[in-house]
Amino acid sequence: MKGFIRIDPERCKGCSLCMEYCPGHAISLTNRLNLKGYFVADFEDKKECTGCAVCAVMCPEVAIEVYQIEKTDER
């Protein structure tokens, strides 16, 4: 895993655009509801994420933060 994302579950409205455009298919819709009553998307950390940020570019709710893991980072 070269990167990872954080999705704010209270901002997410489950529109699924991040899932559709993620090149690594690393995001999926969960069956968890948030306070607004939407099923929210979540990051699957077992899948390959490069930190390309396409999900954040597509997200209409500005709910996604994207990070890249550097070589110096401890695992």
Binding site: K13, C52, P60
Partner: protein
């Protein structure tokens, strides 16, 4: 660990009220990113519309003024004329700019007011429940054109960029979309360019953004993104419509 993307600094913590998959959310974010990157947070004044963009002042941590429906370009004109050092932009929907605000938008463009207009074209009146707008496409079904828009009865879709291009006061007009990653990156560049045109005082600048409205189009967010490509761009071709000076 390197942060590749985080929320723009000139956005407040408030959650958007937009529907799932709405293009307004992307456009609001792109404006905030451009203002951050151009370091214009202290100098920018936003004019919010009546329409789905009306709560912009809840989202932007920049000075925002609410205008009456359609009067964005007139309000922005007033602000820019008394505060020429500020970056002034109005954010308007298609019902706002192309219907009730036709006169204000058109004449601000014709006078070459040094303002930028972010024109969100979603083909319907979004906030009031999906009525037909001047930009609704022929045969498109809306609540006020239930049999599809008929040119004999209801006229043709209005192409604001092409109309404004005939006016000598306009310096930068581009049509972009927010339905896929590459298009969104182009839209951000277009917004930045419009602001640069304003800074260099070349004339009136406008970016028309084709924006999905899944709720009123009665489609899923993904289908509405596809519909922008398959149907809307055939009527409203994307690209640079006019640029009088490279900025």
């Amino acid at each position: 660990m390197k942060t590749v993307y985080c929320r723009p600094k000139c956005m407040k913590e408030a959650h958007f009220h937009y529907c799932p998959g709405c293009g307004h959310g992307v456009i609001t974010r792109l404006i905030a990113e451009v203002v951050d990157e151009m370091e214009l947070r202290d100098k920018t004044i936003c004019v919010a519309p009546a329409g789905c963009g009306m709560l912009l002042y809840n989202y932007f941590d920049i000075d925002t003024i609410e205008s009456a429906h359609g009067r964005g370009a007139a309000v922005a004109t007033g602000i820019k004329r008394v505060r020429p050092e500020n970056l002034v932009f109005s954010y308007q929907g298609d019902g706002d700019l192309a219907a009730i605000g036709t006169a204000e938008g058109f004449h601000a463009a014709n006078r070459g007011e040094l303002i930028s207009v972010i024109f969100v074209n979603n083909g319907v009146y979004g906030m009031t429940g999906g009525q037909m707008a001047p930009t609704t496409m022929l045969e498109q079904v809306t609540t006020t054109s239930p049999a599809g828009r008929d040119s004999v009865l209801q006229g043709h879709p209005v192409k604001i960029c092409e109309v404004y291009a005939t006016l000598d006061g306009t310096s930068y007009l581009e049509r972009v979309a927010v339905n896929k990653p590459a298009a969104i990156i182009k839209t951000k560049k277009a917004i930045a360019k419009a602001f640069r045109h304003q800074q260099q005082k070349t004339g009136f600048s406008l970016v028309e953004i084709l924006s999905p409205c899944p709720t009123n189009w009665k489609m899923s967010p993904l289908d509405s993104c596809r519909w922008v490509d398959d149907v809307m761009t055939k009527v409203f071709p994307l690209g640079l419509i006019k640029e009088t000076k490279k900025c």
